[in-house]
Symmetry: D3
Subunit: 144 residues, 6 copies
């Protein structure tokens, strides 16, 4: 069993603001991430797949298939976009990095079979770094 | 003569759109940086000062004075902000990294004497990286 | 369940010397880390918390609460300090990175409830890098 | 229980070409990694050992013993070498990063006792990065 | 005047061997870079252009034009290639990083006008890192 | 003309304290760098040499000769050492990074001919980073 991780990058803007909370609460909770006009990040996304070695190819996961999957279902939608405005899930959920990892994980999990129709490899982990100091990780088996 | 560089980081959003050009021209020129709702970056800002060694302190530039200057005149205004909306200079100029470096350089040059009232150190260079693959640099003596 | 990691940095000096061993044994064991007047490092500390998403805030761990905890109980004591002289635990234990990770883990575990009084998030892992080539990691449930 | 990771680097060349497949299949499968004259990488190898703290030394793994083991059984054979031509295992197996991690893991596992004759530390994980965007990891207990 | 730098990466193999020298001299001169079957690197290439700001676009250099130039004249020829065998210049010159920077600089200089037909921007510097510890830089005005 | 840079690392401890100033002045001037028992850093040292290409070897500077020079005259003396106590120059000068760059530059300049007896390459620049956020650079022709 191998864990194969590929790293992707996208640049996006967002604003953290919870609709059920009032302005003072939002400001206390999110600090400068609550600034009214938003800000942005160069996100680093690590997608890990898990599977056994295919002895014929020497690979545990086809990197082009993974790139195509992430490209179509994540990067095309998130890169150089405003997460609050352009990602439907963030009409209701706050685009924190936790929710961002969850949304990316759901998209990859839902479409995994189109890229990897066999039993293996499986999606293992989605990890997103908002900056070099903030890393958020979710295991695929904990994504609902 | 030493060159002393300190590195700062800020996260901001922007959209590249030149008001004198039409939509098709903007899209051709700026590509996905022209997406209508903006995006963002973790900017890395390197400010270099130049000066002789002060033999009493062993320093060519007081790092706390530089940090205070950059903090007050750049980071407080730019960090976690929307550059197009919240920085007056970008009401007319497109917030490219070149214009961003120029605006930061002007702010530092205009206020340099409040931090460093003597002959030395002088502002040497402003360098801004939008991502790890795009670096923009201007020498202080070329900032008008 | 998410794992949220925040990265901190501190600069400290130390000397590796085991009091029960003689000088030759210490030198053989620790090499240049045993040099008599000590040396130092820019330590990189990654603290990981684990917990479920709070749907109201979109967060699994309040980053400001974690920063305050690490700041008060680790960085204030360790940053720009001599570990052998200024950290009581290292009067008896050798300040290796293993012991450093253990001491940091104990401080975070002992004070965790002051920052996170609820059931979640919990301390997951403490990871310390002495240099980019040496990484030491301990899971919270293995800290006594 | 600690996990201690040490990072090593080596530069090598390779070509991905599966002997059982025809040229068109190889090109489709490996893309530019199948170019006929090979190419190369600066590989980053992270070897993790796992073990309890030795209270006398404050260490979970002797770094010099690990360096000597990796140096003798991996770096001496792989660094500045052509993997296809100079590593016997790659006469039959394709030198993908999965197979490279596996071969390195086998060499470390087979010779572990010469460096660490006691019960602890044990080899925990071998992780190899072909570039900063491709990371391959295998747990020692899954190496046959 | 701005200096705009864009970073590119390519993976290639090479062998350092000077045809006028005998084997012992080659081995003494190039050490393990002279190993007979070659090795490889993940090269990092920084190309800097220099020019004034275009007030209409806010740019000193069109990044897409630079990417197209470097892609066509450098990356397409060098990435995932064997430098000794596949780059004609290295049939006679040893593919050291100095010669590599020179060859890349010549290709960019010779074709610069196809990408940037105006007076500005001009090619400023070519910088190539073989590893993170070896950086080679040549100014465009010193490229013959 | 090429500029060839090689990167070195050393770990050292120091304390910033100017003997002519009183304690309150020292604390105001150096902040936590004045803590009485010292602290330390993983210093990153970049040494740049400048020279023309030797057509026979394809090199502008022999990397082994530079490594031997820096190893003997800098790393052997500075690595895993207490700069205040073990480097004679810092008995009188404060071991700031400026003074550290100057001392390293003097040692390299004084011994340059033993490594490079010809006209070229010449020492071009010494650059030292105390952390990733503090970089200090001196040109060889400004070292007295």
């Amino acid at each position: 069993m191998f864990r194969v991780t590929r790293r992707y990058r996208f640049s996006a803007s967002h604003r953290l603001h919870a609709p059920e909370l009032d302005d003072a609460q939002n400001q206390r909770l999110y600090g400068k991430c609550n600034h009214p006009f938003g800000h942005g990040h160069n996100y680093v996304l690590d997608v890990s797949a898990r599977g056994p070695l295919d002895p014929a190819t020497g690979r545990a996961a086809d990197p082009e298939a993974l790139d195509a999957l992430v490209g179509r279902h994540v990067l095309a939608a998130f890169d150089h976009r405003n997460l609050n405005v352009e990602i439907p899930a963030f009409a209701s959920a706050v685009p924190t990095s936790e929710n961002l990892a969850l949304e990316i994980g759901r998209r990859l999990k839902d479409n995994w079979n189109t890229a990897f129709p066999g039993e293996w490899p499986r999606l293992d982990t989605v990890r997103i770094a908002e900056t070099g100091k903030n890393i958020f990780e979710i295991r695929a088996d904990e994504i609902e």
